[in-house]
Amino acid sequence: MKKNNIALTFVCLAAIVLMSMKIDLYNCVYAEAQPVNDVPVFLRFLGEGRSIISSMSILQADLYWHGGVGHFFEEHQGVGVAGVGEDCEACKHSDKHSRPEVSPFNILFRISQEIDVTEHIHLQDSQIKEIVPWLYYAAEIDPGNIQAYTLTGFYLADRLGKVSQGIAFLKEGLRKNPDSWEINAEIGRIYFQRLKDHEQAVRFLSEAWNLMQKVPHDKFQERFVLSFLVYSYEGMGQEKKALPFYEYLNKLFPNDVFDKKIKRFSPLK
């Protein structure tokens, strides 16, 4: 009996040692995959909760974008997206949420309906800056939140005219997420659209294209990267390099524009 107990204890100890080695190995791999050096100490205590808080911060930015009023996805169907300098009339759809009919004697419901703000608006011009703190905090809280970087970069460069700050912030994001094709693509797009720096645009968009091949993605994302890449090649006068991408784009989304470009650049092959 005594011998059995000793054997059982020995087996348990051996199991604990083996398990702890496995756990330690797992922790090392996990820690390497998720560097936390850039995260402030007090945020590290939140663990994986950081990504939840970061996502909530982005949702808060969206709420601010709508003047503090929650909205349904369907409300954005068929609404145009205005770019910089474009008239944002398409965004001014101040439809009210469908309110149920309430009897005039149902006073509490009527008060509640009157107090709730339900108009659907988008921030205009100088008001857009109000969403920036939430996007900034989203990226600060969880440096792995790529959407926080790309959104901040977009609003800074395209909507607030802070192109250099936008690029700097995206590059900071790239330093923390070196494998992100999304951040590379966003930097490339800004270089192409805002700065007309085709060389830099090609550099980042090519990198985005390469990184993209390593992760699952859809054809719309491919179109996003490649369309800026081909225009950048054209801007640099390197139509020959753009040709295979035009052919690929034409395969994904057959249309006349790509067809014409292919016919024009084919003799260069």
Partner: protein
């Protein structure tokens, strides 16, 4: 009347003596100071998130003061047996309830006014005031809100311990604040007897969400129409009267 104000005066002295108010005040100043000092990408004039945090803190801190002061009054008097000299004064029981309510109200209003003044000073520092009347409505609604929470906590305090009272008040505040729109949707989507039952429940629950003007103040929406302000005021007074009457009834039946 003098007896009621004597009780209320004692509670204001308690507010001055205790550290709760000062801790919350310093906490608010520090948070708002840090938030206001933040700059983002050299963009000037970002102010809405400071307003958002500021108004939320004003309401939450005033609520904390109001509930913790109102909830402990009667249970502490009973526990420490100081209720006996009060009743032997002689003070009628409704006067004790009314005195405790007025005292909690006075304490809450004093702290709310200080918090609100700080909020306004940060608001004006962040940019021009977009709507004075909306800020005025915010102040009125804040006081009405504290009136409601004080009456609610006094009502619970006649048959609950302080801890249970504070917990329940916080739960009500959070559930009603967060789920009132869901309750409304349930009422509209249900039919028949269920709809009627939900409707009764909706009328019975205290509507703390009526007093929340955070979205309007933060995002500079239009002020509320006058009839809504009047209706909410009337609703608050009626609800408080009912709560205090019920508290008085229960307190009268209590044997010491």
């Amino acid at each position: 009347m003098r007896a009621i104000w004597a009780i209320a005066g004692g509670m204001i002295k308690e507010l001055i003596r205790k550290k709760d108010f000062y801790v919350l005040l310093i906490f608010m100043l520090v948070i708002l100071g840090v938030l206001s000092a933040q700059t983002f990408f050299q963009i000037e004039g970002i102010s809405r998130y400071v307003r958002d945090f500021g108004y939320s803190m004003v309401m939450l801190f005033s609520f904390i003061i109001s509930i913790t002061f109102a909830a402990k009054q009667i249970p502490v008097e009973i526990e420490s047996r100081t209720i006996y000299p009060l009743l032997a004064k002689p003070l009628s029981r409704y006067k004790i309830i009314l005195g405790k309510f007025c005292g909690s109200m006075a304490v809450s209003v004093v702290s709310f006014t200080v918090f609100y003044a700080i909020f306004i000073s940060f608001y004006t520092a962040g940019g021009e005031i977009e709507s004075l009347s909306l800020l005025g409505q915010g102040f009125i609604f804040g006081i009405l809100f504290l009136c409601m929470t004080s009456a609610f906590a006094i009502f619970l305090s006649v048959f609950m311990t302080m801890a249970a009272n504070v917990t329940l008040s916080f739960l009500f505040y959070m559930i009603i604040g967060g789920f009132s729109s869901s309750i409304k949707e349930i009422i509209f989507s249900s039919k028949g007897v269920v709809s009627v039952l939900y409707g009764i429940l909706y009328y019975l629950l205290p509507h703390f969400e009526f007093f929340d003007l955070r979205v309007r103040i933060t995002h500079a929406w239009d002020p509320l129409p006058a009839w809504v302000v009047v209706s909410v005021s009337v609703y608050t007074f009626v609800y408080c009267f009912m709560l205090l009457s019920a508290a008085d009834r229960i307190f009268r039946r209590k044997k010491f």
